[in-house]
């Protein structure tokens, strides 16, 4: 009987000492956390894609709360979530324009041909180091899919030698645009109807020689546009999306058929 009492007492005393130590440690080593971080974090997508430039969603949430990053720091966030983050932070909500990636090249295996036989790492950035293009066109898509390998949303794929974005899946994070050594990928505001699928700045006859799907800089689109939204600079059409209303007249008249629907 006595043994049981002693044992119980010993355990109780040890428990008491450890309990006090734990409470003391808890008080001493307490770290002040901003509960806003958790609330901001709840309104981020949680993909940890890194497109914002921070290590992940936790890091960007922390940066938003500390005021280092704007409330719309996450490029793939929805308008609703940004609104909630703004409420948490007590600032005015920002209107965000969702963007989708678009590959400005239509030079697939049918419209252009291989200039040389490339042997080496199957990666656009490695191929770009060799200097000269593998395809006849010096501006076009390599088709090795560096963009595909960085996409976290399975939204870009190489089909017939040229990368194509699936706009339903694209979140507009812009990682593919950063990975492309040719800088072919442009982020276009969602909802816009037309885009130029070529990046070749050479003169028309030179473009014709290397690719059947290239912008020849004929300026027909420029003349069609009633809103001055399309300009031909350096033998290449360029659409100003602030002015474009999506009438698609340029696409209808495009000689080379490279102004296409998104």
């Amino acid at each position: 009987m006595q043994g049981i009492i002693i044992a119980t007492l010993v355990v109780a005393v040890i428990g008491l000492i450890i309990g006090i130590a734990l409470v003391a440690a808890g008080k001493t080593f307490h770290v002040e956390t901003d509960e806003r971080v958790d609330r901001v974090r709840e309104n981020l997508p949680g993909n940890n894609c890194g497109a914002c430039g921070y290590a992940g969603c936790d890091a960007v949430a922390d940066a938003i709360v500390r005021g280092e990053a704007p409330v719309d720091a996450c490029p793939v966030n929805s308008q609703e979530a940004v609104k909630k983050i703004s409420t948490v932070m007590g600032v005015k909500s920002v209107e965000i324009v969702k963007k989708v990636a678009f590959v400005r090249c239509a030079g697939d295996c049918d419209s252009t041909s291989e200039k040389c036989n490339y042997v080496g790492i199957n990666d656009c950035r490695a191929a770009a180091l060799a200097g000269i293009s593998i395809w006849e066109c010096d501006y076009g898509c390599y088709g090795f899919g560096s963009c595909v390998s960085v996409c976290d949303y399975d939204a870009i794929h190489v089909k017939n030698g040229v990368a194509i974005v699936d706009k339903e899946k694209c979140m507009g994070c812009g990682k593919c645009a950063a990975a492309c050594p040719r800088k072919l990928i442009e982020l276009i505001p969602e909802g816009k109807k037309v885009a130029v699928r070529c990046s070749n700045h050479d003169r028309g006859p030179d473009v014709k020689k290397v690719c059947s799907a290239g912008c020849i800089g004929c300026k027909v689109c420029m003349k069609q546009c009633e809103h001055e939204a399309i300009q031909v600079e350096g033998n290449l059409a360029h659409i100003d999306y602030e002015k474009c209303v999506g009438c698609e007249k340029c696409a209808e008249k495009c000689v080379a058929k490279i102004i296409t629907e998104l």
């Binding site: 042997v119 060799a130 200097g131």
Partner: protein
């Protein structure tokens, strides 16, 4: 404190028999001449001529812009056709001065005026080298007047003329040493006047006995200059390998050759220094090899800088051998050279060879790649003592921090020894070049 050889390295078939005994022929270009403004390391030069200007051979057409930059002189006479972007041998576009060659090569006044270098001060010598637009002709293209003016000039112990020429196929330096031995030795003596405590060393691989003999003959009467014949091993011509052999010490991370008391220059640069200082001739011509099993007449040429590669292969080297097809053209040799997609590019200051390969050799060199076998041969051959096997793993996983900080991957000189020795035929050098480019790009941001 010299050593017999450096650590690591490989023994590729040197293939020099194609052109090694062909003496220099002077080749004067016929077509238009193109001078890219970025033929050197550092800031591109600034053009001083305009479209329509008449220029003479040896006339300054672009001047150095900033400290690390170099002048560019026209190597032909004619009129400036245009100044616009043109493709370079590296495949990139660069602003270039295009000159319509009149075929006369009328020189500017004063070229060939003899000067005794012993009457010149160090500053005057450097000024002449700078005005001549001399850069490292072995491949790096670092401006020579900057290299010859290190902060610790009085501590330099060795001035080394690099005649190793370890790259397969290339023989232009071999012929240069046989033909112009006196000029090279005098060039080295000129450089030695800038470094009071230094000794001149001419480093030659033992597979060039004629060049060694010629240089030894030229050195015999001169004090303070000697020839060092070293065993044949690639990459003996690399700066670090040379310093390891001559000075008996390794360059540590971030160290420059001058920190180890060495100045290393290619023999053709040394000869250019002689021509600039003693003959008042700016950098217009250089030795060049066109070789490979697919050219009709592999040869060593004394060419004008700015000549089109197409002209060199088709006119100077007699075109492609009958019944053969040029499968691959490399600018440089097979170890470090770059495959070219077109011949319509100009030769710049730091190019020294075109290698035209036919079917057989290309197929031998392009077998299928398999997974890493973990055999570790790449670790044994890396002349810098890096671990290419682990670097490749880090590079493939995009673990750039480990690549840079733990494995010192940025020190890679892209000599290609690891790729050469790899039994799994993995494209290691390309992977390292890509990773290095990506890390450097991220750093610049």
């Amino acid at each position: 404190m010299s050593r017999k050889t450096f650590w690591g390295g490989v023994h590729p078939n040197d293939q020099k028999e194609f052109s090694r005994d062909v003496p220099y022929q002077v080749y004067l270009p016929k077509g238009e001449m193109v001078f890219p403004l970025n033929q050197h390391i550092g800031k591109p030069a600034k053009p001083v001529v305009q479209k329509g200007d008449a220029v003479l051979a040896g006339q300054l057409i672009a001047e150095a812009d900033g400290f690390v930059s170099a002048n560019i002189v026209s190597s032909c006479s004619g009129t400036v056709k245009d100044i616009k972007p043109r493709r370079t041998v590296m495949g990139t576009m660069a602003l270039s001065i295009i000159i319509d060659n009149d075929g006369q090569f009328t020189p500017v006044q004063g070229i060939g005026a003899k000067t005794d270098y012993t009457t010149l001060s160090g500053q005057e010598i450097l000024a002449r080298i700078k005005a001549a637009g001399i850069v490292g002709l072995g491949g790096a293209g670092f401006p020579t007047h900057v290299k010859l003016a290190p902060k610790n000039a009085s501590e330099i112990k060795y001035v080394i003329a690099n005649g190793a020429e370890c790259e397969p196929y290339i023989t232009c330096d071999d012929q240069l040493m046989r033909t112009y031995a006196e000029e090279i030795v005098t060039g080295l003596k000129i450089m030695l006047t800038l470094f009071p405590k230094a000794e001149g060393v001419i480093l030659i691989e033992q597979n060039k006995p004629e060049a060694i003999e010629a240089m030894q003959k030229a050195c015999s009467a001169k004090a303070n200059v000697r020839v060092l014949a070293v065993p044949v091993k690639y990459p003996q011509g690399g700066e670090r390998s040379i310093i390891s052999v001559v000075a008996g010490r390794e360059l540590k991370l971030g160290m420059l050759p001058a920190d180890a008391g060495c100045v290393v220059d290619n023999v053709s640069t040394v000869r250019a220094v002689y021509r600039a200082v003693c003959e008042s001739e700016p950098l217009m011509e250089k030795g060049f090899t066109v070789s490979g099993d697919a050219v009709a007449h592999p040869c060593n040429l004394m060419i004008r800088i700015g000549t089109s590669c197409r002209e060199l292969v088709e006119e100077a080297a007699g075109g492609i051998k009958e019944g053969m097809e040029a499968k691959k053209v490399l600018c440089g040799g097979p170890m470090m050279g770059i495959a070219m997609a077109g011949l319509d590019v100009p030769v710049n200051k730091s190019n020294n060879a075109l290698t035209v390969l036919g079917e057989d050799e290309v197929e031998l060199a392009e077998p299928e790649m398999t997974s890493c076998l973990r055999c570790g041969r790449c670790n044994q051959v890396c002349p810098l003592g890096l671990t290419p096997q682990m670097m490749a793993v880090a590079a493939e996983r995009k673990n750039y921090e480990r690549y840079e900080k733990k494995l010192y991957g940025l020190e890679c000189i892209a000599c290609g020894s690891c790729t050469y020795i790899c039994p799994a035929k993995r494209p290691l050098m390309q992977l390292f070049k890509q990773t290095k480019a990506e890390i450097m790009a991220a750093k610049r941001k």
